[in-house]
Structures are given as C-alpha cells and as structure tokens.
C-alpha cells in the first residue's frame, strides 16, 4: 500500500561478494544439511559414475569404428552393442540412484530449516516483528527455503558432478590428443573470466529480486488484512495501482536478471562452438598428417559432445547457486538477529506467586526514537500490592500500553526494573513469567479457532476436553459476560473466524478478556478491556471481575471513569512518570491533570445547560 519505496530493515543489499564469500555463506547450511551429507555424497558418487559411464560410451564406439568396422569385420558388433547397452542401463541406474540418495534428504533439510525459522521467529521479540514487514518473513519461509532445497538436492550435486565430468572429459581429451585438448582448454578461459564478472553482477540483482518479492508479498498481505478499509473507501483500484508499480519494479529486476543470465549463456554456448570449429579443422589436418586415426578423431568429437551439456548447464547452475546464496543470506538475516529478550542463564522460579508487581525507576524508549526525545517512560515508580487492583490512566499516547507490555517482557525496560514478588522479571524464564502474568490487549487478537480454544489458550493442560476444562471455560466466560457464545451456531465450539472477525467488536473483546481470566494468573494486566462494551454490559463485567480481582493483582488501563471504578487505586501516567497515585476521589480533588484526563462531567454539564438554554 505504500506509495513510497518500501523499506525493509535488513537494507543490506549485500556488498558485491567475493567468490569465497558465496562459498562461506553456503557453508552455513552445513548444520542443517549434516544428517543428509552421507547420502548427498553417495548421490554425487552415483551421479559421477553416471557421467563417467556417459563418457565411456564414445570410447566403445571408437574401438568399434576404428577396429572391426573399418576392416568390415562384423564379429565385434554384438559385443560392442551389448557393452553400449550395458553402460546405458548403468547410466540410467546411476541416475535413479542419485535421485534416490539425494532428493528425499533434501526435503528433510528444507523442513528442518523451515521449522527452525518458525521457531526463531516466534522467539524473537515484538520489536523485531514491529520492524519487519510480514511479507519478508513469509517469502523467506516459503520461496527462499524452496530454493535452498532445490539447490542442495539438485544444483549442488549437478554442479559438483558437472565440474568433475568436465575435468575428467578434458583429461580424456588431452590424453587422446594433446593438441586438440589444449585448443579446447584455451578456448574455455573466457568462461572463467566471465564467471567472476557474472557472480558480482548477478548476486546483487538476485538479492534485489528476492527482497522485492518479499515486499510484494507484504503488499498482498496488507491488501487482504486491510480489505475492510480498502472497501470502505473504495480504494481497491488505488491499491492495485501501487501494487502494480511494485510488481513493475520486480519485473524490471527480473529482466535485468535475465540479461545477466543471457550474458553467461552466450559465453557458455559460444566457447564450445568455437572450440569445436577449431578442433575440427586442426583434427582433420592432424589426421591428414597421419598423427591421428579417423577413429580417434571420431572419438574425440564424441567425447567433446558429451561435455557440451555439462558446460552449458554451468550457466543455470551458477545462477541457481547465487540465488541460493542470497536466499541463504536472507534466511540467516533472521537467524542471526540477536534476540534481545531471552531467558536468563540461571532462571529463578517463583513457586507460589503472591502477585506483588513493582515498577522501580523504569525507563523505556523505543529504538527508533530520536536522541532529542526524552524517554517515553522516564522513571516510572509504582507498586501493586498483592491482590490490589490498580487503574492506569493517562492521555492517548502517554505510554500506558507500553508500560503494560513491560510486565511480561514483550519489551524490556531500557533502565530500572520491573519486579514480581521482588524478583526481576528478567530473572524468570519467559514462559514462567507469562504464566504468572496474563494480558488482555487493546485489540482482541483472537485466532481462527473455536471460542473454547481461544479462551483456554493460556491453559495448555486443558487442551483435552475434561470437566475441569469445561468448568474453567464456563467460569471465564461467565466473568467476561460472554454468555452470548452459547447462542452461536455451535456454542463454544463455533469458529470465531480469522482474528475473531465473525464476532462483534464487543464480543471479541469479551472473549479476549475471558482468555486472560481463564489463564488464572497471579497478575492480570488488562489494556482498556471494556472500551467496546455498552454501559450495561460493562457494569455486569465489572461486577463479575471484582470477584476475581479480589484475590488477583491487576493493572487495568482505563480511559473512562466507569473502568476506573474497578480499581482500588489509580495511577496517573504523565510525561513518562507516575505523577499521582490514590483513590479516584482523592485524585479528582488533588490532581488537575487527572481531572482533565478523566472527567467528562463538566463537559456534560456545560452541554446540558447549553441545551437547556436553547430550549428556553
């Protein structure tokens, strides 16, 4: 949807790489490929044998043509035919073996890498996901890994084998007749030179093309996820326009890529032809000088012909290799991203949490925030005693959601600490921390699963149906006033659609609330949990929540006085600090900013009186 050129964080169009660099990059695939290596080796062996067999066939032909046939002797024909046949069967058999050895392990490598990427992505912090466009992740997980698989099980094997075949072929050619062999060899020098040029040119284009496909995938993804906005404004064709211009860019890159490939192809086709022409002339001349028999000349060409395809194939094998190299780079872009939010080496556990949540001189700033800005959270001090319900109030954009995200380490503080029962949250394993503290986000983020699975998401032990699971589900739904789910077509087993889109806004919010409650945590963190509810439902939810909150510590972000009513105390977030803490009425009396943020009463009264004035 962007009209500006899309940015992707790795920005790194790789600096034109040296050959060793490609090699080193590809070597990084080793850990994933390791289990498959023996079979890869065997596969190469089989492929090499196949090629050698293919090279041997002309030798047999030479023997025949030179020996018996030239004398009109028919006796050796049969044995020769049988040998050729045998070799032919052997070649096919070796190729079958190569495929059998190599291709299936290749799929395992792909799977391993895909699972590793997925696990890594889930592990990387939210900051990473904020920054990275979704399509870039998707294209890495799908097309790039596909490419790597095909290269390992096809490109790599053929590249190695074809190189060896060419070497073997050239040796045979040299041994047949060194003059012809040298002519052949000298002619191939431009290929090697061009190969270097090609790598530099091609690698850059390949990277650009892969990045652009990722951006295109992002555009696709956003056009689907944002379809409601596009429809509401009738901007389908506008979106198409910017999508098309991105697609055009990709097209340009692809054509550039084709040009590069055409360049190397040209050489790879040209060189054997020139060599053939020269060899033909000199070969016939040599024969006429009696330095070569007709049969030898024939065998020379037969062997050289066998080498044609390996030589030509080097072109696409190289481009495939460089494509894979950039795909590998892109894969490791993600795997190499340092995870800034990890489990501590020696984790502490809290066996029975009481739920004392404390912010001690907490500082936080987003990474992209410019120097000149003060920290978004600039020394927050706040203590929630066990069982206490604290409302957090502040203007839009004051950092309330950010503060709540610090409790479960979706972000880490940049200074100071958040502690649970006196233990720094960074000293706990993330898994444990998030078991003790459950969150409801300001947007519901449901998954396309049943209501039941969504609500019991934080309780893996209830994955199976059981009376306890049903009880926990029923209770959570009751507290969140989500009885409506029983009226859905399949009750709690109704699928809520992607992101819960087949529920109404308020329904979605209540399911998300039920999800947080069902996790039965020591601390509940609710970010504006009642914003989409009508007044009546809101007060019902509040009444039910109060029971839970009596025993659970809670931090509730609130914009409305009605939500604040849930709390024992209220904290006011202002300019990155907690500037006031107290009961609602205390703060109303003492804090003008609080009054400004939360009170709409004056406003209402003014309106009412205006209206009364009009009526008069």
């Amino acid at each position: 949807m962007t009209t500006t050129a899309p940015q992707h964080p790795p920005h790194s169009i790789p600096t034109p790489a040296a050959r060793s660099n490609t090699f080193r990059t590809l070597l990084r695939l080793y850990p994933y490929a390791k289990p498959a290596l023996p079979r890869l080796g065997l596969g190469m062996l089989a492929a090499l044998l196949a090629s050698l067999v293919a090279l041997a066939i002309p030798q047999v032909l030479q023997q025949l043509v030179d020996g018996a046939l030239s004398q009109g002797d028919t006796a050796p024909i049969w044995p020769a035919v049988l040998t050729v046949l045998g070799l032919g069967v052997l070649e096919a058999g070796m190729i079958a073996l190569r495929r059998w050895f190599v291709l299936v392990p290749g799929t395992h490598i792909e799977s391993r890498m895909r699972n590793a990427l997925y696990a890594r992505l889930q592990d990387l912090p939210v900051t990473f996901h904020d920054r990275w466009p979704s399509g870039q992740l998707l294209s890495r997980a799908v097309s790039d890994l596909n490419m790597i698989r095909r290269w390992i099980s096809f490109g790599l094997v053929l590249l190695v084998v074809n190189f060896l075949t060419i070497i073997a072929g050239v040796v045979i050619l040299l041994s047949m007749n060194w003059i012809l062999g040298v002519i052949f060899l000298v002619c191939s020098i431009p290929i090697w030179i061009y190969g270097y040029v090609f790598e530099e040119k091609y690698s850059v284009i390949a990277r650009r093309s892969q990045d652009q496909s990722g951006d295109l995938a992002t555009a696709v993804e956003e056009s689907v996820h944002g379809i409601r906005v596009l429809k509401a404004f009738g901007r389908g064709s506008f979106a198409l326009k910017s999508f098309a211009s991105q697609a055009e860019e990709l097209r340009g890159t692809e054509i550039e890529k084709a040009r590069a490939i055409a360049g190397i192809w040209l050489w790879l086709l040209l060189v054997p032809d020139v060599a053939f022409a020269l060899c033909l002339v000199s070969g016939v001349w040599l024969t006429s000088q009696g330095q070569l028999s007709v049969g030898e000349l024939v065998a020379f060409f037969a062997t050289a012909t066998v080498l044609r395809f390996p030589v030509e194939s080097i072109g696409f094998l190289l481009s495939m290799t460089f494509d894979t190299r950039t795909a590998t780079d892109r894969f490791f872009d993600i795997l190499d991203t340092p995870n800034t939010i990890t489990d501590p080496p020696r984790p502490v556990t809290i066996t029975s949490p009481r739920g004392r949540l404390a912010f001690e001189n907490v500082h936080f700033r987003y990474a992209d925030s410019p120097e000149r800005f003060p920290d978004l959270l600039d020394g927050v001090n706040l203590v929630l005693e066990p069982g206490e319900t604290m409302a957090l109030v502040g203007l839009t954009g004051s950092g309330k959601s950010t503060l709540t995200a610090l409790t479960t380490r979706l972000y880490d503080v940049t200074d100071g600490s958040v502690t649970l029962d006196g233990v720094d949250v960074r000293a706990l394993r993330r898994d444990e921390l998030r078991r003790h503290i459950a969150m409801a986000f300001e947007d519901a983020t449901l998954f396309s699963a049943s209501v039941r699975d969504n609500v019991l998401l934080g309780r893996p032990e209830f994955a199976e149906r059981s009376p306890q699971a049903d009880a926990a589900l029923a209770e959570a739904l009751q507290i969140a006033q989500a009885a409506f789910v029983h009226d859905l077509p399949n009750g709690v087993d109704t699928l809520v659609g992607e992101e819960g889109m087949s529920l109404s806004g308020g329904q979605r919010q209540r399911v998300a609330l039920a999800r947080a409650v069902a996790a039965a945590p020591a601390v509940l963190v609710l970010d504006d949990p009642l914003s989409a509810l009508d007044v009546n439902t809101e007060s019902l939810v509040e009444a039910a929540l109060r029971r839970v909150l009596a025993s659970t510590t809670a931090l509730i972000v609130a914009h409305r006085p009605s939500t604040v009513m849930l709390a024992d105390r209220v904290a006011l977030l202002e300019a990155g600090r907690i500037t006031a803490v107290g009961t609602h009425s205390e703060l109303l009396a003492t804090s003008p900013h609080y009054k400004f943020v939360i009170s709409s009463l004056e406003d209402e009264e003014r309106r009412e009186s205006e209206r009364a004035g009009e009526a008069l």
């Binding site: 290749g106 032809d273 998030r434």
Partner: protein, 601 residues
C-alpha cells in the same frame, strides 16, 4: 459438491469429469494470459527455431568435415575443410547470440504474463466480498498470490525455454537423423512409443500429488501468517511450543507430498534416459552391420549415433519442464478457481450514476443474516433523512455494525433493498457509492507506510496541506508532528508504531479527508482519552452539519450532537426519536442514559 470457484478446493478425490473441468478452466486462463503476448511468443519461437537449427547443424558439419574434408585435404585441397570450419564457427556464433537474445525475450514474456496474472488476482481479491474473505482466510488468498505464483513463475522462467528449445531440438535432430539415415530414424520412431507411455504415467500420478502439494503449502502459509499476525498473543499466552507442533506437522505433510513427487520424478527421469540409451545401442546395432556391409559411411554412422544421443540429451530438461508444468498447472487450477469466484456483492451491470448525493439512506423491507439459519437483522424498514446526524446505540452484539455494513455495502441484504437517494445500492456505480458513503470501521487498520499515506487513503490525490488540514480538524496534528518523522513517519505494519488512540485518530482523519455525503463512524472514538474525544466531538459538530452521519457509540456523550437516536436490541430498532424526547421518556434509552450518567464522575 461442485468445483466451481474455490469450492472443493481442498478435496483430493475429484472425479474424472471434475478434474477435466478444472484443467479446462486453468488452460483457458493460461490461454488468456498468453494471448496478449502471442506476437512476442511467435518471435521468440522463431529465434529459437533458427538458433536451434544452427546448433543442430553441428554434427552434420563434423561428419562432412571428416567424410569430405579429410579426403580433399589428403589431396592438398584445403577448401572443403576450411569452409566447413568457417561455417561451423558462423552457425555456432549465430546460435549462441540468438539463444542469448531469446533468454531476454522469454523473460520479457514470462514477466508480462506474471504481472498480468498478479494484477488479475489482486484485483479479484479486492472485488470479492467480505463474506468470501471470511471463509477463505487471508492465509490462503496470500498463498494463492505468493507460493502458487512462484510455481507458475518457475515454469515460465525456465520451463518454457526448456520446452521450446527441447522440443525443437528434438524435432530438428530427429529430422536431421531421418535425412541422414532413414533406418536409424525408424529406430528412433519406435523408441517414441515407450517414451509417450512413460510420460502419460507420470502425468496421471503427479497431477494428484501436485494438487495435494498446493493445498499443503497453503495450509502452511495460513498457519505462518496467523502466528505472525498474532505474535503478541502467541507470546503472552505461551503458545510457541504448541504452535511449533502444529506447524511442524504441516511442514511434515508438505514435505511428504514433495518427497512423493520427487520419488515419482525419480522414476520418470531415469526411465527416459534408459529409453535413450537403449535406442543408441539399437542404432549402433542396426548401423554397425550396414557399415560392415559398406552400405553406410563411417561418418554417417557416427553422425547418426551423435544425433540419437543428442535427441535424448534434452530429455532430462524436458522431464524437468514437465515436472514444473504439472506443478504450475496445479497452482493455476487453484488460482483460476479464485478468479472464477463470483463476487458475493457484485458490481452492477448497468450502473446508475449519482454525481452528487444528498445522503438520503433508506432501508426498504430489509432482512439480513450472515449465515442462513441465524437472522441478525429481522425484517425492517428505516429512513435516514439527508443531513441528519443519527446516533445508533444498543448493547454489544445487537447488530449496529451489521446495519452500518449494509449501508456501506460490505454485504447485500438477504431481502429487501438499501437505497441511497432512491437508488438501490446494488445498482449504484461503485465509484459513486464509495464517494458518497464512507465508514470508519470498528477496527482501525493502518497500512505500513507513512502517516500521510494512510490519511491519503481517504483521498489519494490530496495535497500535503489537505492532509494536514484533515489531521488538524480531528485533533491528530499535534501528535503527528511529535512523531520522529512527522507526517512521513512509517507507522509499521498495522500501525504498530502508534498507540491505539492515535490509530483511531488517523483513521478518523482519513474519513474526514474523504468528505462523503454519508459518514458512518463505528466506535471511532472508543480508544480515545476523554480530552481527545471531546476535541473530536467538537470537530464533528462542524463536520457533520451538512451531511448524513451514523454514529455508533457506547459512550453516550456522542448522543448530544445527534438529531436522532436509534436504539437497537437483538437486531431490532426498539426506540427512535430525538435525544431529548428519549431521555425524558421512560424507555430503554432513558435508562441507558441514566446508567451512563451514573458512570461519569
């Protein structure tokens, strides 16, 4: 169950007729994609024909050189040999140059086809109704536009080259062989029989597997996209390990299908080579005796053998082409299904223009349900006068958003009509409809890109000052200039860079900029703090004075600026009147309002 559109897409047990129907539809699509580039295709083919002919001349020239050049040279006549050498050089260079040209040419063609297909699918995605999207899921539509297109790209990129070149190469070599030695040609002809049989076998088997592979990769993508979209919830509820399990299973089933395809190919490809090698042996056998008899020159036998081998040389590539063709065909099947899908909310065939709208909205005997057995809005009629500001209130799940979505034609009513200025929305020109009616949805979705770009969605041609004016009007300007890059700050995916309230303000500015005759605000201020909400409301009073507005809100402060209040319960409008009238009454709204007043401080 039919197989029209995307129906039955995940099924694997197509009947013969269904399978044929799907193939036909995807071939039709392929045809329509190739039609616009047909001339380029012809040129490309010509180039290949010539270049392949040049290449194929090789063995004949070598044979000529040996058979004619050598005796001549022995007679000190250099001419035949030199001529052969030069001709060889010229044909070789021509061939190589042409192939290089062809490579670029064919990239042009395949990129043209791809971009055409990309745009078609993209546009179709936008045309399809929400109903479709809700059931099809974003992951699948994304996979259609990414991994399925990849499969087609692979075919076009390398496949067509391989096919055209391979086929021509085989044809030329075949012809050359026949011309050189008819008997050898006959042997080759016989070899074609097992060749075709093997290919047919592969086609039948692989078609099924490739279909499975497309489905498996789509489920993979669905899971991937959903995890990444909901990453916060994934982390907060510790579902990483469980997700890994689910994803791992999907990866494994995708791998299995792939492995099976590969195994199939692992039989097909060596099979072809075997056939080729046996044929070479046969040619040798048949030719050997004739050379011994003196019926055939040695050079000719050699050329025949070279030709036969060369005939089968492109076999491996052709096999690979066929493989990617089958894969692309399966992808094309799925894509053609999406393209075949009829939009549930279709554009009118003969659209009625409405240049300027007064903004009169009318529900005429409307009934609506999302799913057949669960009526959400039972039969009702309702008229919204032009210029009126209507507050739509009611408990959650009552059907307010649904009503709003009918006005903005996200859905069509199952009975009755919704009219704008007396024109059925179904007949209205989509451009006019979208210009006249704009809705700010309950979910404030922002696209990645700058703040300005996001606001400009309301009016793509808007200038920067118009954008700023819109932001000022809704009270968003101050926070926007406070962002690191001001209006050019990238808001990141889904607007994750700005707070929830800020997202709502930006969405609001967007609608303000669009300046429609009918504006629908669905909980547009629910995440705002009270001071900002107050600003918005003040802005609304001026903004809404000359247009029809439907404001859905749970915070009844909005009601103050409304001319009329509709109270909705269970899909039925239970109260309808001016705010004062309803507040002073004893009905639901009066109680609601009292409760709300109570909740204020």
């Amino acid at each position: 169950m039919s197989v029209i559109g995307v129906e039955g897409e995940e099924r694997l047990d197509y009947t013969k007729a269904e399978s044929a129907q799907i193939r036909r539809r995807s071939l039709r699509l392929l045809g329509s994609l190739l039609f616009p580039v047909r001339w380029s295709v012809v040129v490309a083919m010509l180039v290949v024909v010539v270049s392949t002919a040049a290449q194929v001349a090789g063995p004949a020239l070598i044979a000529y050189g040996i058979d004619k050049g050598l005796p001549a040279l022995l007679e000190q006549d250099w001419v035949p040999l030199a001529a052969t050498g030069v001709i060889y050089l010229v044909t070789g260079i021509t061939g190589a140059l042409l192939i290089a040209w062809y490579t670029v040419l064919s990239a042009r063609i395949s990129q043209a086809v791809l971009i055409d297909l990309r745009k078609r699918v993209f546009l179709q995605t936008q045309r399809l109704s929400l109903e479709f999207h809700e059931s099809y899921t974003s992951g699948r539509i994304i996979s259609r536009q990414t991994s399925d297109l990849d499969a087609i790209r692979e075919l076009l990129d390398s496949g067509i080259n391989q096919l055209v070149q391979g086929l021509l190469y085989m044809a030329f070599t075949g012809i050359a062989l026949v011309a050189l030695d008819g008997v050898s040609g006959l042997v080759l002809l016989v070899a074609l029989v097992p060749l075709l049989a093997l290919t047919r076998w592969f086609q039948v088997r692989s078609q099924h597997l490739f279909r499975q592979s497309r489905t498996a990769s789509a489920s993979l993508i669905v899971q991937f996209v959903e995890t990444m979209t909901g990453i916060r919830a994934v982390k907060a509820f510790r579902t990483e390990k469980r997700n890994e399990g689910v994803f791992g299973k999907l990866v494994e089933s995708y791998r299995l299908v792939n492995a099976r395809v590969i195994q199939l190919f692992g039989v097909f490809d060596p099979g072809l080579i075997l056939i080729g090698n046996v044929t070479v042996a046969a040619v040798l056998l048949v030719g050997g005796f004739r050379v011994a008899d003196g019926q055939l020159a040695i050079g000719a036998l050699l050329a025949a053998l070279l030709y036969t081998r060369r005939f089968f040389d492109p076999m491996e590539e052709m096999a690979m082409f066929y493989n990617s063709y089958q894969s692309a065909a399966a992808a094309l099947e799925k894509i053609s299904g999406v393209l075949e899908e009829q939009p549930g909310v279709p554009d009118p065939v003969t659209p009625v223009d409405l240049w300027t709208s007064k903004g009169a909205v009318q529900f005429d005997n409307v009934q609506f349900e999302y799913q057949a057995d669960r009526v959400i809005l039972p039969h009702f009629s309702l008229t919204l006068e032009p210029g009126q500001t209507i507050a739509l209130v009611g408990s959650t799940g009552a059907g307010k958003s649904t009503l709003a979505k009918l006005i903005s034609r996200f859905y069509d009513p199952s009975h009755g009509r919704v009219l704008l200025d007396g024109v059925d929305l179904r007949d209205l020109h989509p451009k006019d409809l979208r210009r006249a009616i704009v809705m700010v949805t309950q979910e404030a979705y922002l696209f990645s890109g700058s703040v300005a770009d996001n606001i400009a969605i309301g009016k793509p041609e808007a200038t920067r000052s118009e954008i700023e004016a819109a932001a000022r009007a809704v009270g968003a300007h101050d926070f926007i200039v406070g962002l690191p890059g001001g209006y050019d700050t990238d808001v990141n995916k889904r607007g994750g860079r700005v707070s929830a309230g800020q997202r709502q303000l930006i969405s609001f500015a967007r609608a303000f900029l669009a300046d429609p005759a009918v504006l629908i605000l669905d909980e547009a201020t629910s995440s705002l703090d009270i001071p900002s909400e107050r600003l918005v409301q003040e802005a609304l009073q001026t903004l809404l004075s000359d247009r029809t507005a439907v404001i859905i809100a749970h915070r009844l402060s909005t009601v103050a600026i409304a001319d009329r209040v509709l109270v909705m319960e269970n899909g039925i409008i239970v109260e309808d009147g001016t705010p004062d009238m309803l507040i002073s009454g004893t009905g639901r709204f009066a109680r609601l309002h009292a409760a709300w007043r109570e909740s204020l401080v």
